[in-house]
């Protein structure tokens, strides 16, 4: 199944925390880490994120698939940024020190030729970008495996979101496995008709078009199914007024400490960012190679 995770109850520090405190902490880390390009600071955030991941006692086996998909996307984006030279120039750094010049190189298929300048700033920026995205991933990937799926609605309501929005989040988590299963059935049904997704060829537009046998049935099924979902909600009085949330969440001391830490991290990060700290840091030894 393409999209699959399974929540398991584990007696861990992470799972004993109130999910609201964990969401606040996650958001704080996300909003803080994106304020920095300094690899040393980012590695600090990455350490916190990985610490949370390991404290949650998640195994590689259960999280392997999302890690592989997201890592592929991260590496792809980083290489793309590195090759095009866009992203950091003019924002994270203003001058570049050449380490090597490759080329002229020729792009397969389109045949464009170009010269690739490998600079100290571009290289460190790529590494920082990757570390930043992995920190965000490690922080976020832990959530679906360790928050009880029955608590999402109460969690988001507890964070101050309106009933309807909070329940929408709950419903989204409820139907992700259903969507994954529908996708899996469609993939099997089309493969049984000789469709080979791994043999798609042509340009990006053409490849997307060739995904229609998968995307159309899954989308149509989701839309048709949504009608039943709406009926089921209407028939049980959803949205007629303020609702009671059966699950009652209660902050404990550890949760309050975590929220306080989250607030401090965010405040300090923002202050540092305003003061101009934490910009791209290029280690001296890398610059030395450029000379």
């Amino acid at each position: 199944m393409l999209i699959a995770w399974k929540y398991r109850e584990r007696n861990t520090v992470i799972q004993r925390l109130d999910p609201r405190a964990r969401i606040i902490f996650m958001l704080s880390i996300l909003v803080s880490v994106i304020q920095f390009w300094d690899l040393r600071v980012i590695l600090g955030f990455l350490a916190v994120a990985l610490g949370q991941y390991f404290l949650a006692r998640l195994t590689w086996r259960e999280t392997r698939r999302p890690w592989m998909v997201i890592s592929f996307i991260i590496v792809f984006l980083t290489i793309l940024t590195f090759l095009t030279g866009r992203g950091g120039v003019g924002t994270a750094y203003h001058e570049e020190h050449l380490l090597a010049r490759l080329g002229p190189l020729s792009l397969p298929i389109v045949g464009w030729s170009f010269t690739l300048d490998i600079t100290a700033e571009k290289t460190v920026f790529a590494i920082s970008q990757m570390a930043r995205m992995f920190a965000i991933t490690a922080m976020a990937i832990t959530i679906p495996y360790t928050i009880d799926p029955g608590l999402y609605g109460a969690t988001f309501r507890g964070l101050g979101l309106p009933d309807k929005f909070a329940y929408a989040m709950d419903l989204a988590f409820r139907y992700v496995p259903t969507l994954g299963r529908d996708f899996s059935i469609t993939l099997d049904a089309q493969r049984a008709r000789g469709y080979e997704v791994e043999k798609l060829s042509g340009g990006i537009i053409s490849q997307i078009r060739k995904l229609a046998p998968l995307l159309v049935p899954v989308t149509i099924n989701a839309i048709v199914g949504a009608e039943d979902v709406i009926d089921a909600m209407d028939l049980r009085c959803f949205g007629i007024g303020p609702r009671t949330w059966m699950q009652k969440l209660q902050y404990k001391r550890a949760d309050k400490a975590l929220i306080l830490t989250a607030v401090l991290i965010f405040a300090l990060s923002t202050a540092a960012s305003i003061m101009g700290l934490g910009r791209l840091w290029v280690p001296g030894f890398v610059l030395a190679w450029a000379k």
């Binding site: 999402y152 259903t178 099997d188 008709r193 000789g194 080979e196 049980r236 609702r243 059966m246």
Partner: protein
């Protein structure tokens, strides 16, 4: 005491349609009654339920005439929140009705929306779960429940709101026979305790076992029969609604004998082996073993019905034949070649697999393109593709629809397109998963008759919960139980073993009983209409 439900001259036309879905429907439902509503697909049954539970006119717009009275009170203009505390509805597909990630959340959903105090919600949730004897499911994730468990959880969510009228839209559709029996007993109990229960069901024969007090038979939105269930037999056409075999035999006696066309697929003397399973075992990732030491061979001329309860491994077995799954142990050979060495596309040249729901595969802008998709993938040249498409269109009676969008067709037409799409691939072995799922009796019998008259196949295999489909069409029955083959042989042998069927959670039907009784005279299993005329001779 007021009558719980009175429907008076109800007519409704959806805004987007020309024809009315309901025409002048009137009836009443009393407390303690089970009220059966029968009729073929599209006859207006679901529209009737929507009018009673208030979804019409609240969510579905159109022209509505007539009245629905709940305990004497006209419900037009009343909010859904008021109606749904009197009328509880269990929709056809529990997967879509269940909104909570956990059972406890699902059952509490309506009560939370009513803003009840938390303690009361918890008390009502526990009471509903205990009533249905599913307290052990309380903290389970709903996604991983079986079909029968989902049905009960959906019902618990409705019962927690304490309605006195229950509307059940095809509650047996996703259940295997044993789970269906259990659900029916529960429905009877709900009525016996004083609730008024209206049940829509294609499986009329099954519902009749709980002696519904009243029945309504609808055709094209109109009432064709309304009265005690005992009168249903005389009123309905046994070709349209599946009645118990003795009823059909009794009625068919007075009709001319039907024409019997034996299947075109006949067993030759030298029967080639098409697919061989050798000591096949399989488990999904970390899950339990789904198939264990399975050995069997599909040979030329076989029409195999694969029977067994939900979770017995039927679909997993079939997915091994088409190569979608590869065995953990043992091997599957297709015409002598190990499927591990073949791609699914290569296997599709020989085996065509029709999935249960057409909506999972239809995607193309036109029926023609949909049918051409498979043959194109298999690399046939344009002339062969067009020939295959034309033949498939003719065989499945899709002429005139070639340029229609398959997504805009009715369910029955979509099912035919999904079969035609496989036929166009010219596969020699046809495999079907629940060919009668979601179709009414008349449609699926006509469809099975047509399939068996096709000249292209070397073998046919179908998965089904419906013993009668095996009785009417199979020349071989494969009985699966807990991942193992419990029996494999001619229907008259396998289905005659009552103890075996019970152990494998297969429920004998009245047609099976009638066939077994008359087997010494008939020499083979046949449908009830034919049995009627055997008895006369």
């Amino acid at each position: 005491m007021e009558i719980p439900l009175i429907v008076e001259h109800l007519s409704f036309r959806y805004r987007t349609r020309q024809e009315p879905a309901l025409r002048d429907v009137s009836f009443m439902l009393e407390a303690g009654q089970v009220f059966l509503v029968a009729g073929s697909s599209g006859c207006g049954k679901t529209t009737l339920i929507r009018c009673i539970n208030g979804l019409i006119p609240h969510s579905y717009k159109g022209e509505l005439e007539g009245r629905v009275l709940l305990y004497g009170e006209d419900m037009s203009g009343k909010p859904l929140s008021v109606i749904s505390q009197i009328v509880g509805t269990v929709l056809q597909d529990p997967e879509r009705q269940i909104l909570g990630s956990r059972v406890v959340n699902e059952v509490a959903f309506g009560l939370e929306n009513l803003g009840l105090p938390r303690d009361e919600i918890l008390a009502r949730v526990d009471a509903a779960l205990a009533y249905l004897d599913i307290s052990h499911l309380r903290d389970r994730e709903t996604f991983y429940l079986s079909g029968g468990e989902k049905q009960k959880v959906a019902l618990a969510g409705v019962l927690a709101m304490q309605p006195s009228i229950l509307l059940l839209d095809e509650p047996l559709a996703s259940l295997d026979p044993v789970s269906a029996q259990e659900a029916l007993r529960l429905i009877r109990r709900l009525a016996d305790e004083g609730r008024a229960v209206l049940i829509i069901e294609h499986r009329v024969e099954d519902v009749l076992k709980i002696n519904p007090e009243m029945a309504l038979f609808m055709v094209d939105g109109e009432v064709r029969y309304l009265g005690p269930t005992s009168g249903l037999e005389a009123a309905v056409d046994y070709h349209e609604v599946k009645l118990p075999a003795p009823m059909i035999i009794e009625k068919a006696r007075h009709d001319p004998p039907p024409t019997y066309l034996p299947p075109l697929l006949v067993r030759k003397e030298e029967r080639a082996s098409l697919v061989e399973f050798e000591n096949v075992s399989f488990a999904y990732e970390d899950g339990p073993t789904v198939l264990q030491d399975v050995n069997f061979t599909i040979r030329q001329g076989d029409i195999i019905a694969v029977l067994g309860p939900n979770g017995a491994g039927k679909t997993t077995l079939v997915k091994h034949a088409i190569g979608l799954l590869k065995p953990r142990e043992g091997r599957v050979r297709l015409e002598g070649k190990d499927t591990r060495e073949l791609s699914v596309a290569q296997i599709a040249h020989v085996i065509g697999y029709v999935f249960q729901s057409p909506s999972h595969m239809l995607f193309a802008p036109t029926v023609h393109d949909e049918l051409a998709f498979g043959p194109k993938n298999l690399g046939y040249d344009q002339t062969t593709i067009e020939e295959g498409v034309t033949q498939a269109v003719d065989i499945l009676n899709l002429g005139g629809l070639e340029n229609y969008s398959p997504l805009a067709l009715s369910f029955g037409q979509q099912k035919r397109v999904s079969i035609a799409a496989i036929l166009a691939m010219r596969s020699r072995v046809l495999v079907m998963d629940e060919p009668n799922a979601g179709q009414d009796y008349k449609n699926y019998m006509a469809f099975m008759d047509a399939i068996l008259q096709l000249p292209y196949f070397d073998a046919i295999l179908f998965i089904t919960h419906d013993v009668d489909l095996a009785v009417c069409y199979a020349n071989r029955v494969l009985l699966l139980h807990e991942g193992r083959i419990a029996a494999d042989g001619p229907p008259a042998e396998v289905l005659a073993d009552a103890a075996l069927l019970k152990r494998c959670r297969v429920v004998p039907t009245s047609l099976l009983a009638a066939n077994l009784e008359m087997l010494p005279r008939t020499g083979r299993f046949m449908r009830a209409e034919l049995l009627a005329h055997v008895r006369q001779t």
